[in-house]
Symmetry: C2
Subunit: 151 residues, 2 copies
């Protein structure tokens, strides 16, 4: 189990690979982001996005799953107070395989919640095939400090 | 149809009501954010979140649906380059009814994409029952300028 003290600045966690399934793109769009360019090939081709692509919020959801599978389920995380930046740099197309990294930028002990720390983190997601960066996301995570009786 | 020119600073759009269904909270968590405090009542009670709550990325997805239903499907939006802030202020519990507003902060014509503008927007989501603010989100939207032949 990883605690706040294990998230030292510069620590990196690999994310992915995670395949963007076409049906998942359409399902997410139908539920949460039914704009024509996320649902319809022709409308997507006519849009600035230049073709069918995942909702940006689907991309952040897939990123979250990649974080869980990489490190979050094995650490003393208690959620996040927020995000200080998301850049949706390029459209995320059906069929893409997403890879990337989560990096610890800095950490500090919480003043208001003794026994907890807050880490600032940065994620980058890339398309495995081209290596192009698709998304950047800076965010914070609440992490429990290592208990005194923990190895 | 609303174009960039219709998104003048101060313009507001009502969001919701949108009911947070317990099964939807669990479904989203199973797919995208399987941290114990989003899936299991006991683990949630022991966490900083103090009880079962929606993944923050589920909340932003629900927010997106509220935006589509309110104004996005009836305007010349071409997606978003990114988000400059998300604050997850309070846990979003199953059973909550979400309401809120999207407000235009400022707009400018795009230099790189003639015929398009970029608006900075701010969303606030509240719980209908208590009126407490749950989420703030600042983001940008690409909007087509009104065509010369449009009424």
């Amino acid at each position: 189990m990883r605690y706040f003290e294990d998230f030292t600045p510069g620590t990196q966690f690999s994310l992915g690979p995670y395949t963007v399934e076409r049906e998942a793109v359409l399902d997410f769009a139908r539920s949460f982001d039914p704009q024509p360019f996320h649902l319809d090939e022709d409308a997507a081709n006519r849009s600035l996005l230049g073709g069918l692509s995942a909702s940006g919020w689907h991309t952040t959801a897939m990123m979250m799953r990649m974080m869980c599978d990489s490190f979050l389920l094995d650490c003393a995380s208690h959620g996040s107070p927020g995000v200080s930046e998301i850049k949706w740099l390029r459209p995320v197309r059906p069929g893409y395989v997403l890879i990337g990294e989560a990096e610890v930028l800095e950490g500090r002990l919480s003043q208001s919640r003794p026994g907890f720390g807050i880490c600032q983190m940065r994620n980058a997601l890339r398309e495995q095939g081209s290596g192009e960066t698709l998304l950047l996301c800076d965010y914070a995570v609440f992490l429990q400090s290592r208990p005194a009786d923990s190895p």
